[in-house]
């Protein structure tokens, strides 16, 4: 499901300098996994992976609207997640998240993900 920007959210996004109100709802994403949801603010159907996926399944590809990295850090562990707009890590990298970082709101780059990979860094 595509996220529809409300007028208020659009104004906030355009002004840039204002702090956005972030959702208080917890992103339920299993420990050790990267998750993406079909709707903003960690709503709708969720896909989660503990490993890489070079070609997301059709129901989540290009319908991703919020993301969370619940990876667990450690020495030599690939704990950052890079999300790409094309299959097999092709096209542009849309976002890179460290463990504990989440994106519940995306003003401009919504519904674009097609693949992701875990990496030591971004």
């Amino acid at each position: 499901m595509k996220r529809i920007l409300t007028a208020a959210a659009a104004v906030l996004a355009l002004t840039g300098g204002l702090a956005l109100t972030t959702p208080a709802v917890a992103a339920d994403c299993p420990s050790g996994h990267f998750c993406t949801w079909q709707e903003a603010d960690f709503g709708g159907q969720r896909a989660n992976w503990s490993g890489d996926d070079g070609w997301w399944e059709g129901w989540i590809a290009d319908t991703d609207s919020s993301w969370a990295n619940h990876g667990i850090s450690g020495p030599g562990v690939k704990d950052h997640v890079r999300v790409y707009e094309s299959a097999w890590q092709g096209g542009a990298m849309t976002i890179c998240l460290a463990p504990g970082q989440e994106v519940g709101y995306n003003g401009a780059a919504n519904d674009r993900g097609d693949s992701h990979t875990w990496a030591m860094g971004c």
Binding site: G16, H70, G76, K78, A87, L97, Q101, M120
Partner: protein
Amino acid sequence: MLSVTRRTRRPLATAAAALVLTGCATVPARSTVPSSPQAQDELLGTAERTLVVRCLAARDLTLPDTAPARPPAPAEDRRLQAALFGTGPRELSLTLATGHTVTAHTDGCVAAARQNLYGDQTRWFRAQVTVDNLRAEAQARMKDDPAHRAALDRWTRCAAPPGRPRPERPGPAVAARCERESGLADVRARLEPVELAEVRALRGDQLATYRQLRTRALRRAAELSAGTTEQKGNDAS
């Protein structure tokens, strides 16, 4: 079902192994920061994991494997998630030029570990999110370039020849062939270094903060590593 490939994982790295192995040794502990970036990353990873394990232990929780073969029960994992990543409002928030608003909690064991290591988790969050996404920002800017737009048009025509419906998602083989034939890959390879240099200049203040706080964290991690070694040595004697 989702196609899940388990992450390539390395066993406990040298730094962590050294901590354990030197537990019974009599060599004096030293808080030195290694020179290679890889060894520095390992030192930071070891320190963060050590701090997180201690924090979880204080809450009667244990850290599972990085990607456990069998995930814990949902209720149990939600408790672990809350302890690791925090709960309630997300106090840290930064909107990137790409439109993503990245958030994180300031409570939880991961946040506490970063506060301990980097000294200021708010400044570290802003610097890390910015620096981690310099490449994403450069790639987003690239799309405004006329040469990139023209190559992307050729790519689209390649993936969806006239008279045929455009596939919702071209297969990987088609996408790769069209990247080559349209020249899109070459255009990206030419433009990205230029855009990346501009973005790095634009975000110079955050890059400087990133380096400053990482240096601080490395010193702190080395102290922790030495302290752990000393403590283990004492315990063993």
